[in-house]
């Protein structure tokens, strides 16, 4: 109820407020026009009309009206009182403005009252759009653009209109942010003329562009050719064949192409003559290329008749022309060094490496021949650029050819004069002078015919020795400049990575350039590998060698080439690291983590399986000293019929401690164990009276080992040793004798039983060992590792016993109970009985091993299945009392 009242009050309040404000806001008049948009430069007149009510209230008329633009009073000269209620104001040559115009009255002679206000917007009508043009990007929709003309200062809409002769398409409204273009919604249809025009419209007018009528196919910009590939020809070193895939538009129009190419290091493109590529094709062979030079190509296409637009350039593709034989013979010269041997001289033949544009491939080696008059030709194959030969003082002819993969250069022929040769026409008037930043050398020609001139020079320096350099000139030349760089660039590594190295070098000083450096060549090689050459543009001072082998020593040198020749710089060596930066961390960290994880898992595993591990490594060997000997019958003669175990043990051939573990519990005799025992009993009931000594049950520690060894060593069943259970032995596997026998210290203080000393027992053991050789060591294997081995036996066993297994189990339980009771009553004879039966089972004779395995398996299964802590027979005996034999 209270809420309703509140609502009503609020509603009334709002109503009254609105009404009163409405009354207050009711203007005294109005201005016509209400929302004027005025063309720039035109005249504009606004009329303010007062309302009668207001005029009466304020006692005013039109004469009281005054105008303001942006709060500035308009001069009264521009006013015109039309009648008693209306006054107008006129503006001439409206400028660009967006101003407020208000009509005001002065009431009571001093109070200015605003009557009405409007906003004047000025601008220009749209100009006729020009330069309308459309483009159809292949596979996309048509886009048209135009020049919108002058700025209108008003919101102007541009609409692209299009139609076929038979139908009209939807208009395309240009977006605000792109008012000069529009992309139509429909897919372009080729070979149908379409008429297109643009309409521009704003508040001051509408104007239409010229109509253009065209076939969209003539406005198409095809997709660029793709999959451009470059292949060289082994037959011709001056050609490269380009192949590419055209866009689908080639199916119904003819294309023409632009193919451009450049050498890898160049920045400007050369173009194949367009007339050679004026029709649709998908391959082209470029000719007149330099041999063994890498070229980069790109291609574009357009409609063959030139209507439309060029496609974008394709992806660049590069290829290397095949090698050609060196086009020029290397410059060849010699130096004679005095020889100690009389009548001989040492001649150093030297030559210049060919620049790449003359080598036309990788120079594999140089062949030098040296011939003396009428003597045998001597051939040399040299990888470097010099060869020292011992010659007599006679005249020799030396020839030099450079060889690459394709062939040999022409031969440079050099005559090495005889020792006493005197030049008849030596060069005269040798002059050197600098000009144009190079050092010129001029000489007077000799009268005779000259094959070639050799210029030798060296730099005169106070600090450096005269290291002569030389260059070769044709025989017709009498003036030249020292061209080749007198010094090669010194290369060094900036950064060495596992598989790459960034080389850097300094620009050669002008003084040593001897011309314009055209390019550098970087030679690099491993100690055993072939040399690789890379050409680098002269503008570079850095280059990255890639695809290097890690952990390898590289030797690198650079040569600078002018148009006339090159000069090698000093060799530099560097070794790539074995691992990349961060690689070691990337390897070590995961390895450490894996190791840590493995360790943790191992610890966890050990922790969880500590009982099992303990059993295998340091089993609980019961301390006989803590045995409670209920009865001691030293006079009881050993009842074994076989060799006692102690014989075996005396030889160190003890069974494994695991044997010890598989044992009946002191309190709880497992049914399975009993079952196995029972089985033994049933299988060998007839062998009564065979006793198993306490040692057998302690050292062998179980009835089962005794059983399993029955076929191999019957004597093992009959144990009378008093300390056997305290001996831990690493047994060998099968016929292998353990290398080390380990004995744990016996803490037993019990005396040895008589049987231990019995020679007949020893004899029996020996016999058995001799006859079989498979001793209880084998049991160790069977019991510990024989799961797989025994599994088929289990099956066999199960098959053989399947019919009675249930009854047997019951029987075993019954037996267990009986035995348990028996033991609990400290019945030494009962205990004996049990072991007797086991022993008899063991002594079942030289039964098959399979039988033995059955028993072992059953026994082991019993132990595993129960998963109970293993106890040792002596502990069992503890209750029943120690029962020496």
């Amino acid at each position: 109820m209270l809420t309703l009242q509140t609502w009503i009050v609020q509603a009334l309040l709002v109503f009254l407020t609105t009404d009163s404000i409405g009354g207050l806001l009711d203007p005294c008049g109005y201005i016509n026009p209400e929302s004027p948009v005025v063309q720039l430069g035109s005249n504009f007149t606004a009329v303010c009309v007062l309302k009668e009510k207001c005029m009466d209230y304020f006692h005013v008329n039109a004469n009281y009206i005054f105008w303001k633009t942006n709060h500035v009073t308009v001069p009264k000269e521009q006013y015109t009182v039309i009648n008693r209620t209306a006054s107008s104001v006129t503006f001439t040559n409206i400028p660009l403005l967006n101003s407020q115009l208000t009509c005001n009255i002065r009431t009571f002679g001093q109070i200015d009252q605003n009557v009405y206000g409007i906003r004047i917007i000025s601008g220009l009508p749209p100009e006729k759009p020009k330069n309308l043009n459309c483009i159809v990007n292949e596979g996309k929709k048509m886009m048209c653009q135009w020049a919108p003309g002058r700025e209108t200062y008003l919101e102007t809409n541009f609409t692209l209109k299009s139609e076929w002769a038979t139908e009209k398409f939807d208009d395309c409204e240009a977006k605000r942010d792109t008012p000069t273009s529009c992309t139509v919604d429909y897919s372009p249809v080729y070979f149908v003329n379409i008429e297109v025009w643009v309409e521009a419209e704003n508040a001051l007018g509408k104007v239409t562009s010229d109509h253009i009528n065209f076939d969209p196919i003539d406005k198409v910009k095809p997709n660029a050719p793709h999959n451009l590939s470059v292949n060289n020809s082994e037959e011709l070193s001056s050609i490269l064949k380009l192949t590419w895939i055209n866009s689908n538009i080639k199916n119904f129009i003819t294309l023409k192409y632009n193919i451009q190419y450049r050498t890898k290091d160049a920045s400007t493109w050369s173009q194949i003559p367009p007339e050679d590529t004026a029709s649709t094709r998908s391959s082209f062979t470029v000719q007149d290329l330099k041999p063994f030079t890498e070229y980069v190509f790109r291609i574009r296409c357009m409609k063959a008749d030139g209507k439309g637009f060029w496609s974008d350039w394709s992806e660049e593709a590069s290829g290397i022309t095949y090698e050609d034989r060196p086009s020029k013979a290397p410059s060849f010269w010699y130096k004679i060094e005095p020889s100690r041997t009389h009548g001989h001289r040492s001649v150093q033949l030297i030559w210049k490496t060919l620049p790449p544009f003359e080598a036309n491939g990788k120079i594999l080696d140089y062949e030098v021949t040296v011939t003396r008059w009428k003597s045998r030709l001597q051939n040399y194959t040299v990888n470097g650029t010099e060869l020292t030969v011992n010659l007599t003082n006679d005249r020799y002819i030396a020839t030099l050819t450079a060889r690459n993969l394709v062939g040999k250069s022409d031969a440079s022929v050099l005559t090495i004069p005889a020792c006493d040769f005197q030049a008849t026409h030596p060069v005269m008037d040798l002059k050197a002078f600098p000009k144009d930043n190079v050092l010129w050398v001029e000489w007077t020609a000799t009268n005779g015919s000259v094959n070639k001139y050799i210029l030798e020079w060296c730099v005169l320096s106070d600090t450096l020795p005269c290291i002569p350099d030389w260059q070769q000139e044709d025989g017709t030349v009498h003036r030249t400049y020292l061209r080749a760089p007198s010094k090669g660039p010194t290369v060094r590594t900036k950064k060495v990575g596992k598989n790459e190295a960034v080389l850097e070098w300094d620009q050669l000083p002008v003084d040593v350039q001897n011309g314009f450096i055209r390019n550098y060549t970087i030679f690099y090689r491993t100690i055993i590998g072939n040399e690789t050459a890379v050409n680098v543009d002269s503008s570079h001072t850095e280059y990255t060698l890639s695809s290097l082998t890690s952990d390898t020593l590289y030797m690198v040198r650079m040569a600078a080439y002018t148009d006339e020749g090159g000069k090698d710089g000093p060799e530099f060596t560097f070794t790539t690291p074995k691992f990349a930066q961060g690689e070691i961390e990337a390897i070590v960290v995961p390895v450490c983590l894996a190791f840590l994880l493995t360790t943790l898992l191992g610890v966890l595993f050990c922790f969880n399986k500590r009982d099992l591990i303990k059993k295998h490594i340091w089993p609980n060997v019961p301390d006989p000293s803590k045995s409670h000997i209920a009865q001691w019958s030293p006079h009881t003669p050993p009842r074994h019929n076989f060799n006692s175990k102690d014989q075996m043990y005396s030889d160190g051939n003890f069974t494994d401690v695991s044997v010890v573990e598989i044992e009946a519990n002191d309190k709880k005799t497992f049914p399975e164990d009993m079952k196995s025992l029972d089985l033994f009993k049933r299988e060998k009931i007839s062998t009564e009276g065979h006793s198993s000594g306490i040692g057998g049950s302690s050292c062998m520690s179980s009835s089962r080992p005794s059983i399993s060894s029955s076929d191999e060593n019957e004597s093992a069943q009959n144990t009378s040793s008093t300390v056997q259970y305290s001996t831990v032995v690493h047994s060998g596997y099968r016929h292998q004798v353990p290398s080390v026998q380990v004995f744990s210290r016996s803490e037993s203080t019990q005396p040895l039983l008589d049987s231990e000393e019995r020679p007949e027992d020893l004899q029996l053991v020996d016999n058995v060992e001799g006859s079989d050789g498979v001793l209880p060591r084998q049991q160790y294997f069977k019991q510990n590792c024989g799961q797989r081995e025994t599994s088929p036996v289990i099956s066999h066993f199960e098959r053989s016993k399947q019919g009675s297994s249930i009854n047997q189990e019951d029987f075993v339980r019954l037996k267990q109970q009986q035995i348990s009771d028996h033991i609990s009553q400290s019945s030494g004879s009962g205990q004996m009985k049990m072991f007797q039966e086991v022993s008899t089972a063991a002594s079942f004779g030289p039964g098959t091993e399979e039988q033995v395995e059955r028993f072992e398996t059953v026994g082991m299964e019993a132990a595993i299945d129960e998963g109970m802590p293993k106890s040792y027979l002596p502990q069992t005996v503890r209750q029943g009392g120690y029962m020496p034999q």
Binding site: A165, E167, F191, N193, E195, N251, F252
Partner: protein, 202 residues
Amino acid sequence: MKVLAAGVVPLLLVLHWKHGAGSPLPITPDNATCATRHPCQSNVMDQIRNQLVQLNSSANALFVLYYTAQGEPFPSNLDKLCRPDVTDFPPFHANGTEKARLVELYRIVAYLGASLGNITRDQKVLNPNARSLHCKLNSTSDTMRGLLSNVLCHLCSKYHVANVDVAYGPDTSNKDAFQKKKLGCQLLGKYKQVIKVVAQAF
């Protein structure tokens, strides 16, 4: 209702191309009704030839794309399922006059245009993921639409033929999916066959 609407779509499509195309119309040399929005270009016959070349160059690819997209048994039973047995397909006489050939071409393109509309509609339902097929069908339909415009323009401007009676293929909207696929395959097989003849005739 949906079926009705589906059947009407291709009809409207053709109606959009040409007023009165839905009803059998005689060849009427009526200059008054033969008004175009703007004059035909002079090279319209060249454009018609180019359009036929364009259609012919893509017809086989469309056919292959179609039966591949339908899956088995179509690709392995083309002879049975895609045999170009379209009984009501408009005839074409390559040795007729230009006017007669253009009129027959008009009928063929109108027929094909409507059928392609049906196929496109069906395929968007039957094979919604066969984008390249849809694209190719749309592209072919667009080209046919342009061809129809050119033929009409030329008939109108040169021969003053404003109306041509046309016929359409069966409406597939009430057919089952397999029949739709089969009829589409037959039609495209027929199209591939016919467009080659027509392209050569011009």
